[in-house]
């Protein structure tokens, strides 16, 4: 019986591709075991951590997870709360009691708090087995977004945009003087003092999204920003 890896670390695999043979490796999410083989079931990047093989998806919709901070758009205002678009396969509900700390009188006008089309930073506090999402506005940094611009990126690239302990996003913030909020669902809010700053920020984030799976990303983004005439810390 052979025990070997069929692909290299950090290579791209497609569904149906044999990743490893034998029982020496453990399949993580995005793959399955068939007989003696471990086979990929998703398009992604291979990451080998000891005996465990993982796949980092390169595409796909956002999967709602409890505790994630996301940016959503108000789709509808109901009697009991707000219905929010989440950029995932499912909509979400923000109930009146989770939406505001104020005492809201019965029949009060809820659009005073969030109106249709508003973008909000919100946290997922529950996801049911049927993927019904409950949101809350109670927590640090959760608020309605005023001004700025919204861009969408692939949700699988969000960790790259944020970087280790927020290193990437804080580098961009310092270099461009923009306020940036990255939602786990791939919606990014950018607000700068002037439009030029915002445009450079958008370009930087799009560049990260495009090249995130190639190594040496931080360095390339740093040179990209300084080429644009921005001062980057750590040079």
């Amino acid at each position: 019986m052979t025990n070997e890896l069929k692909v290299k670390d950090k290579s791209v695999v497609v569904p149906g591709e044999v990743i490893a043979e034998g029982m020496n490796y453990l399949p993580g999410p995005g793959m399955y075991r068939k007989g003696n083989e471990i086979i990929s079931s998703q398009l992604g990047l291979i990451k080998i951590e000891g005996k465990v093989i993982k796949i980092i998806p390169l595409s796909g919709k956002y999967l709602p997870k409890r505790g994630d901070v996301i940016i959503g758009r108000v789709r509808d205002v109901n009697f009991s709360g707000w219905s929010i678009e989440t950029n995932s396969a499912y909509g979400a509900m923000l109930s009146m009691k989770d939406g505001s700390n104020d005492y809201i009188r019965r029949g009060a006008d809820l659009t005073k708090y969030f109106n249709i089309g508003d973008y909000i930073v919100t946290k997922i506090y529950n996801v049911t087995s049927q993927n019904l999402i409950d949101l809350t506005m109670k927590g640090p940094g959760l608020k309605k977004l005023v001004g700025g611009r919204i861009i969408k990126v692939s949700p699988s690239k969000v960790p790259r945009i944020i970087g280790k302990q927020g290193s990437m996003v804080s580098m961009i913030k310092r270099a461009t003087n923009c306020n940036i909020i990255v939602g786990q669902n791939g919606i990014v809010w950018i607000k700068g003092v002037n439009p030029e700053d915002e445009i450079i920020t958008v370009k930087t984030i799009k560049k990260i999204e495009k090249e995130s799976h190639v190594s040496g990303l931080t360095e390339r983004i740093r040179t990209f920003l300084s080429k644009k005439g921005r001062k980057v810390a750590g040079e």
Binding site: V12, Y32, L58, G60, Q130, S156
Partner: protein, 239 residues
């Protein structure tokens, strides 16, 4: 007259497909997309979703739904205008495409949702449903859908007593002898057939021979699909 089909009309070998070209990510707005070209037959596939499914009675609380739509563009035929909109034929092909792909895709994580697959053909020269299935399976993978394998599809058949692979229109309409056209789709890792239709008449012996030919050729098509999917991400490596 004895067996006359000794050489194929376009000069290919009997077990050779037409030239295949595949590309992924051709439609930027879609969640996943692919182009699959085999000879003159060209298929585009775009995948949207998983997303909310309405009307509500169609929702399945246990798993997501796969919805395929096959469409030939009005100018795609060999001269006659193809009437746009659903027809008996396009509805049937949409249905068999769906069933060809369903055994590999896993939508258990998306209850009450739907994945829409749109297959459009700007140019056809026989084998369009197979090209559509190949494009759709690449587009689904590109959209990040969990699937246990890609699906490869090709038409095999018999032209005047000779088993051939990937018939073009001239062969399908060959009039000097019997023709059988068998579009098949295969899951390469298990060897299962997910599409098996037939047009024409064939002997059982020849039928089995044709299926064997399909089993041999599909892995080559899968290889092209895989390369195209990887290409989307590796081009950027060079920059």
């Amino acid at each position: 007259m004895i067996m006359v089909y000794k050489k194929r009309i376009d000069g290919r070998k009997f077990d050779e497909t037409r030239k295949i070209e595949a590309k992924v990510g051709v439609i930027k707005n879609a969640d996943g997309s692919a182009l699959f070209k085999i000879g003159k037959t060209t298929a585009y596939a775009a995948v949207y979703g998983p997303k909310d499914l309405y009307p509500r009675f169609m929702q399945n609380p246990e798993k997501g739904l796969l919805r395929c739509n096959y469409n030939m563009l009005p100018f795609s035929g060999s001269g006659d205008r193809v009437r746009p909109g659903p027809s008996r034929r396009s509805k049937e092909i949409s249905y068999v495409t769906e069933n060809a792909l369903l055994p590999v895709v896993n939508l258990d994580n998306f209850p009450n949702a739907v994945v829409d697959v749109f297959i459009e053909l700007p140019q056809t020269d026989a084998g369009s449903r197979c090209a559509g299935i190949c494009a759709a399976s690449m587009a689904l993978a590109d959209a990040g859908i969990v699937m246990k394998d890609l699906v490869g599809a090709v038409a095999v058949g018999i032209v005047d007593g000779q088993v051939v692979v990937d018939l073009n229109y001239d062969e399908e309409s060959y009039d000097k002898g019997d023709v059988a056209d068998i579009p098949v789709a295969i899951i390469p890792s298990t060897g299962e057939f997910t599409l098996l239709q037939m047009d024409g008449r064939i002997k059982k012996k020849d039928f089995l021979k044709a299926l064997d030919a399909a089993k041999k050729i599909v892995p080559k098509i899968i290889e092209v699909q895989r390369k195209a999917l990887k290409n989307k991400f590796e081009v950027k490596n060079d920059k």
